[in-house]
Amino acid sequence: MTARIGVVVFPGSNCEHDVVKAIGLVAPGNAQGELVWHGARTLAGYDAVVLPGGFAYGDYLRPGAIARFSPVMEAVAKYAADGGPVVGICNGFQVLTEAGLLPGALQKNRGLRFLCTTVDVEVGTTRSALTGALEPGTRLRLPINHFEGNYTADAATIARLRDEDRVVLRYTNNPNGSLDDIAGVCNEEGNVVGLMPHPERACDAMTGSTDGTGLVRSLVQVAAHGLGQPVTP
């Protein structure tokens, strides 16, 4: 059976087609991405949900601040509470923190530059919906493309993320000032994940790297079999 992964489109999202394409490249026949307009009030029938990158609502006020009140976000919150896999990439990560589905906040980059480059990250926990098919410590080369990617939280939250093994990805050479080099985190259960790098842009050799395939494949496997099931590396 083909797993269905809903890719939410907010006004101003711009990576939704890349995510759909990446899913098709990584898991042809096993999973397909389907666009879901942000006005949707239910996510019934989807095996996973992705909030893609972009500039939802023009990033007005703060990135994600308006998008979090889109009708679909109530459905996302319920879907996540029921254990459904939810992944926010870049702007999607910002939406998840604004919605309180992930801790912390993403501030302007240290140095105040918009960063459009490729960085190395290291896989932290492998119990998340995005890293089940990978080994801890695996190095990945992934594109980043953001102005507000500087992960910030109070010291207690950073300590808790560390103690509870909830850091999904860490920069090896911190590009934006993120505390504890955090590039991605997950919730306690591991089913909600947010990350600033773009794995969907690293799934085709033509675009320079295929290091994103392991992350996308992890999500596809969780969509197909559920979180915590054995996965094929």
Binding site: L61, A65, P103, G104, R110, G111, L112
Partner: protein, 99 residues
């Protein structure tokens, strides 16, 4: 309403401005913090209820409580139907003097 970063939260904009000012000869400035100012006209029975609503707005939308805090100031006591409020607002924020 002023929305500002909580004490202890790093402020990349403030830090950059603080580094830029000495280059212009302003070398006696420290602790620069950048925030946002919102001006709202609120229809309410009295200042207290207007204030309560604005605090709610800050908590739910205008500030991100994870990293920001807000401070509210009533700019001008406006009575219902007082058509002069706009003029009085402008008085609070006078236009810069002509150079």
């Amino acid at each position: 309403m002023e929305v500002r970063l909580r004490p202890g939260i790093a402020d990349p904009q403030g830090a950059t401005i603080e580094r830029a000012l000495p280059a212009l000869g302003f070398d006696t400035v420290e602790a620069v913090r950048v925030g946002k100012a919102f001006r709202l006209r609120v229809d309410a029975a009295d200042e207290e209820s207007a204030r309560r609503r604005v605090v709610e707005m800050a908590d739910r939308l205008l500030a991100n409580p994870v990293i920001e805090e807000s401070a509210i100031r009533a700019m001008t006591p406006v009575s219902p139907g007082d058509g002069t409020s706009a003029a009085r607002e402008d008085a609070d924020f006078p236009k810069p003097a002509a150079r």
